[in-house]
Amino acid sequence: MTKQENYFRATDFGVPEWIPIRVSLMPATWAKYREALEEIVMEFPFIFGEHLPGSIGFDAFDGTYNEGEFTDAWGCVWKNVAPGLDGMVVGHPLPNRRDVRNFEPPTGIVGLPHGFMFMRLYYLRGFEQLMIDFAEEPPELQMLIDKVLEHNLMEVDALVKAKPDMAVFGDDLGNQDFLPIHPQKWRKYLQPCYAQMYAKCHAAGARVYMHSDGHIIEIIDNLIEAGVDILNPQVGANGLDHLARVAKGKVAIDLDLDRQRFPFWSPAHIEAHVREAVEMLYAPEGGLLLYAEMEPDVPLENIRAMCETLMKFKDFDG
């Protein structure tokens, strides 16, 4: 069985042979550890694939990972003070409600980057302004949502033309331990947006993979209703027990292992964490995948420990 076949057996609850595992290395992590990280990558070809020494440009960051400011296709101004990590939006093109009325989203295909719907709304308006919009519910709120959605639907149409097996989306819906807006308002304003986008994916035969940082427990059922097939939630913000309660068996979970703790844990902690996650979320029919993102502050020994641990637990069978 190929890795891809096994991956989709896991996402489709089709009895995978092993738990799919994935480790992501941020550009800043490569820039810090360089050849030493390359050694680890070459030790674990099952995780990283075959790697040719020297094939990574340690300091060659893609555009948004570079230090400085840039303006995206929506007119949002990004700033990055930490090369190799994600920046954030510091300039919002629609600070006043009246700006929404004349706003025109990008006319061409610009992609669906992380932060395509909910985050895009506050990238455009500013976080506090958007929260006040959700409190007061002026017509401009729905107007803005409609404009962003209309563009996004066009993006999805373009995305699914290639008939992918899976369409990948990322939008951080939660704060660390709460949803920013009431779940009822989320269901009223945002769920229909995701549902329309994801329906197009399903119609084209693509599974829907969605990443969200933050606490989303109260809306996981709604994300499933909206068409999410594979959810990538954070352990730390949601809790394994809550995820087991609301998501296990209902949606495939690509578990975002607790990267907020990786820098501080020992290898033994890492193993205990993965063991606990697997024991709580594993089912023989599938529905569990494991993901670990490594920032530059994670010690090399912990990166290696995570790789070893994932290799050990990928064959967990209860």
Binding site: A82, G87, A135
Partner: protein, 213 residues
């Protein structure tokens, strides 16, 4: 004479215009600005904090309440200044060096202002020495350090160390917060406290400064 129930309810409901109007009404009836603030506005905001902690209120409701409270404070401000009423304490808030995330920091500032604190916003990506400099300049009683990223958490320790090395640590209490922060980390770096969100930050600030809740 009216009691403050209606004023508190209007703060909680985020009714900005009504809050300003009721504040004027209480003043016209002879209440002092300090009394209206301490017994009307601030208790209203404290209930908002509780509702936020209990999951009844979310950020929009919190911000609406804060705006209504500000509308009341605008009316009171000239009177408070004329009678030399001091804020509960001065808090210097900032996101630490290397980190430009400000949503959490801004929410904490909103809630602290709602608790009667004066908040000096140092902004984002604030170097350790700048925190010390601003604390001295403004006579801050409490320092609030925010970080969203694990990679910038060491800047919190650097900031605390800067207060220590510059001989100003004894003059201030320091609290920390942000998505990856834990009480264990606060203890490890010598912070005086950790708050897991904006509402708890007000309780912690009062506790650290010995202010009645």
């Amino acid at each position: 004479m009216q009691n403050y129930d209606e004023l508190r309810e209007c703060v909680i409901a985020g009714k900005k215009a009504q809050v300003a109007e009721l504040v004027r009404k209480h003043l016209d009836e002879g209440k002092t600005a300090k009394d209206v603030m301490d017994n009307g506005l601030i208790p209203g905001m404290a209930i908002v904090g509780k509702k936020f902690q209990e999951g009844e209120f979310f950020i929009p409701e919190m911000l609406m309440a804060a705006r209504s409270l500000n509308a009341g404070l605008e009316v009171l401000r000239p009177l408070l200044e004329a009678s030399d009423v001091k804020p509960v304490a001065k808090v210097l808030m900032g996101t630490v060096k290397g980190d430009i995330h400000d949503i959490g920091k801004n929410l904490v500032a909103v809630m602290l202002r709602g608790g009667g604190f004066e908040v000096i916003d140092a902004g984002v990506d604030v170097p350790p020495d700048k925190f010390v400099e601003l604390a001295r300049e403004n006579g801050a009683d409490l320092i609030g350090l925010s970080a969203l990223l694990t990679t910038t958490m060491p800047s919190m320790k650097d900031t605390i160390d800067a207060f220590q090395s510059q001989g100003y640590r004894e003059n201030v209490k320091i609290m920390i917060g942000g998505a990856p922060i834990t009480q264990e980390y606060a203890d490890e770096i010598g912070a005086d406290g950790f708050a897991r969100n904006a509402s708890y930050a007000v309780e912690l600030a009062k506790k650290l400064l010995g202010v009645a809740a």
